[in-house]
Symmetry: C2
Subunit: 254 residues, 2 copies
């Protein structure tokens, strides 16, 4: 069994108002790549946020007292900290050089997912306003044009508890369920699998991140081809929520 990850060349730097669907279709044509049924497109969230004009001008922000206190503690810019607070539902943890929040969409991550990379100085990109909707719009537009059954996952690069380093992580999903519930299936010895919920969308995002890079390569769009779980997970009404652990079940939050 073979899985292919194709980094789509020729995607230009995106600016507000750009139509991502058109950019992707143009790049596909130029590279002579035809989308196939069951292809999964992984899209870096910065590209989506920038096209949607979801950019913060830090100069416009007036830091609150809370932001000034946290900025001192973390040695971050107080305007950036204020932006982080405004994008959050709750500040989960503050350390010597990090702020972990729960975003308005329920993601627990550093800096509310606000990114200062790949935009001009003084600007920052928060996560897309509604990454599931961004994924859905893109999937439907690409399916309309190509006639293929596709999935789209919006990806971010996020740190984790207990381990060093960030990995590609799914923040929006359309076309397949992000979680593969395998409970009830049998293992190689005929014993029922017990803990068998696989965060497939996160695995796909991590895989894509091996290609997407952050710096000079700049390949924000990756196509995963040959994933055999596609049909099993096919769901045109899917979203990312099944991957988000509600606070009341989370032993690491009190």
């Amino acid at each position: 069994m073979t899985l292919e990850l194709i980094g789509l060349e020729g995607i230009p730097l995106v600016k507000k108002g750009d139509n991502i669907t058109k950019l992707i279709l143009k790049a596909l044509e130029e590279q002579n790549i035809e989308l196939e049924d069951s292809d999964i497109l992984l899209i870096a969230e910065t590209m989506v946020s920038k096209a949607e004009g979801n950019i913060i001008n830090l100069g416009d922000i007036l830091p609150s007292d809370d932001a000034i206190i946290i900025a001192k503690k973390t040695q971050k810019d107080s305007k950036l900290v204020e932006a982080i607070i405004q994008e959050s539902r709750e500040v989960v943890a503050v350390g010597p050089d990090f702020i972990i929040t729960e975003t308005k969409d329920g993601f627990v991550c550093a800096n509310s997912g606000i990114d200062e990379s790949n935009v001009d100085e003084g600007l920052a990109t928060p996560m897309p306003k509604n990454a599931d909707k961004s994924a859905r719009d893109l999937r439907e537009a690409l399916e309309d044009v190509t006639g293929k059954e596709l999935a789209v996952i919006i990806t971010d690069t996020q740190g984790r508890a207990f381990r060093v380093g960030a990995i590609g992580t799914a923040i929006g999903c359309s076309g397949i369920n992000p979680l593969w519930k395998r409970k009830g299936e049998k293992d190689l010895y005929g014993r029922e699998l017990k803990s068998s919920e696989i965060a497939t969308a996160d695995e796909l995002a991590a895989a894509a991140s091996l290609i997407q890079g952050q710096a000079d390569e700049g390949l924000p769009v990756v196509i995963v081809r040959g994933f055999t779980g596609f049909n099993l997970l096919r769901n045109k009404d899917s979203n990312i929520n099944p991957l988000l652990l509600p606070k009341q079940y989370d032993v690491f939050r009190k």
Copy 2:
């Protein structure tokens, strides 16, 4: 840029004393696959533990008082709980149906990584005794036979804080550094990347998990071909430790 993930067919169910190197070489030959420079082999830890005879017979275990208390709380078998405690350095958290520990090797994960899948009833497989050494032995043996520059990563499927579902995770590593330190590199706008440590070995493990599966497919060996970071990360003395966050830096442990 294209990355290829090849699930190696024809690996039989492994038993104590089996030589994994020979099994892999035989399967490669049967499938007409030749290893190439920069290939990364991802190996499911259950296969390694079983070959190394690292299997627990739960019938032999006498549960301690602590194990009996935690077993009641979690509705788990007290012998299994005792095995989990014996494999651990510290019990980190106990919930209604889970036990999270720090293993003797420093992994924070559920059940000390002890797995009851893919072995006969009454048996369980802990993690390999020393997954870095297992990875190194296998890499050196495969490099000797093939003359190619390779990396080997031992993988497990582990849950995460804050998110639902498990993903493929690296627990042993040889041949490349598991962590890609990109600090100092520039982004597309010439700004220095700030948070830029990527847990590449975990991303590779997550990618491989899309193929490895747990049930009837049973493809414990996956080859990643075409990863452009290989030469940059090449290190014949690498191990998994750079991915393990020391307790004193971990805001989610008190």
